[in-house]
């Protein structure tokens, strides 16, 4: 018998600190698989966010650079401009990318920076204990929207993919999910594609991965996958929003 599935080389051995059932673990592995399959581990530099994935530099087995909250696209720009032939990716949550880092992601995309961004959207701030995110849904109860998110008070959940797809510099934007095997497979394809787009020099590539946060959503990991399917997908439609030939 031969191994048909094992830990990718682009992941270190360190056990993830994420909560049981947190989909960060799945996506980390998909990113690592893509890096392995493209054979670029030794010329990849990842930029870690602030959020639950702040320790991402402990898990991705390649050169890693920390970033301040929201600034990963700017840090990645600095790295890529210095080393244009390396593979540079950012891995960011919804607070990092869609709140404090909105200027940085919009402008990196607008400049067509040849980087790959993996955007984890779980509609909540995990690390800091469950506050409302820009992507939290209307009516969603969080510690800073204890009566449920109200549009007249806190505005509407923001669809980042749709916004970024309008920019000329964006070469590839797809929204995926990881709530079942079929969607995990599609997510893997999209993530690999996003790295291939960087390698082809077409421009900025982003994959938004609808994800769960069982702990702060207050449900079991299995229930969380179902909640994602029932509530997030209708508001954040899956699919390719932009693809430049």
């Amino acid at each position: 018998m031969a191994k048909v599935f094992e830990r990718p080389k682009a992941l270190t051995d360190k056990p993830f600190h994420y909560c049981p059932g947190c989909t960060h673990g799945i996506v980390h592995r998909l990113v690592a698989e893509a890096i392995d399959e493209l054979g670029v581990r030794d010329r990849t530099i990842g930029v870690a966010p602030v959020g639950c994935a702040v320790f991402a530099y402990e898990y991705f087995n390649c050169d890693m650079h920390e970033a301040a909250h929201g600034r990963a696209p700017a840090v990645a720009t600095g790295i890529k401009r210095v080393l244009p032939d390396r593979v540079v990716f950012t891995y960011q949550g919804d607070g990092d990318l869609a709140s404090i880092g909105t200027a940085e992601i919009v402008h990196a995309a607008n400049r067509g920076e040849k980087i790959t961004t993996i955007f984890i959207n779980n509609a909540i701030y995990g690390m800091t204990g469950g506050q409302m995110a820009p992507t939290s849904l209307l009516g969603q109860v969080t510690t800073t929207s204890p009566y449920g998110r109200q549009a007249d008070q806190a505005g509407y959940p923001i669809r980042m993919c749709e916004m970024l797809a309008t920019l000329e510099g964006t070469a590839y934007v797809e929204r995926v999910s990881v709530h079942d095997i079929k969607h995990i497979n599609q997510a893997k394809k999209a993530i690999k594609k996003a790295f291939e787009v960087q390698l082809s020099g077409k421009g900025f590539a982003l994959v938004e991965v609808l994800s769960t946060c069982p702990t702060n959503w207050g449900m079991t990991p299995v229930e969380a996958l179902e909640w994602l399917k029932q509530n997030m997908i209708p508001y954040y439609p899956l699919g390719v929003l932009k693809e430049v030939e």
């Binding site: 191994k3 599935f5 830990r7 056990p15 059932g21 592995r29 497979n185 069982p214 996958l225």
Partner: protein, 68 residues
């Protein structure tokens, strides 16, 4: 012929793997807990395993290796 190997000490008992096995052979081992304090996932009836790796693919902690 196929088999799956669970690194039980890494398992956090999230149960996602139990929901995707097409043969329904992945269960939580209620008779033991690992060092983290979780019931680890495991397989009864390994001879029914088809090596599809669905369990491995949904596992957030890279607990499972699959051989075929």
């Amino acid at each position: 012929m196929a088999k799956v190997v669970f690194d039980e000490e890494r398992c956090k008992g999230c149960e996602l793997c139990t929901t995707v096995c097409p043969k329904g052979i992945v269960i939580m081992a209620k008779d033991r807990i690992n060092k983290k304090g979780y019931h680890p996932a495991t397989v009864k009836n390994m001879d029914l395993c088809i090596g599809c790796a669905f369990c491995a693919r949904i596992c957030p902690d890279v607990v499972i290796e699959v051989e075929k």
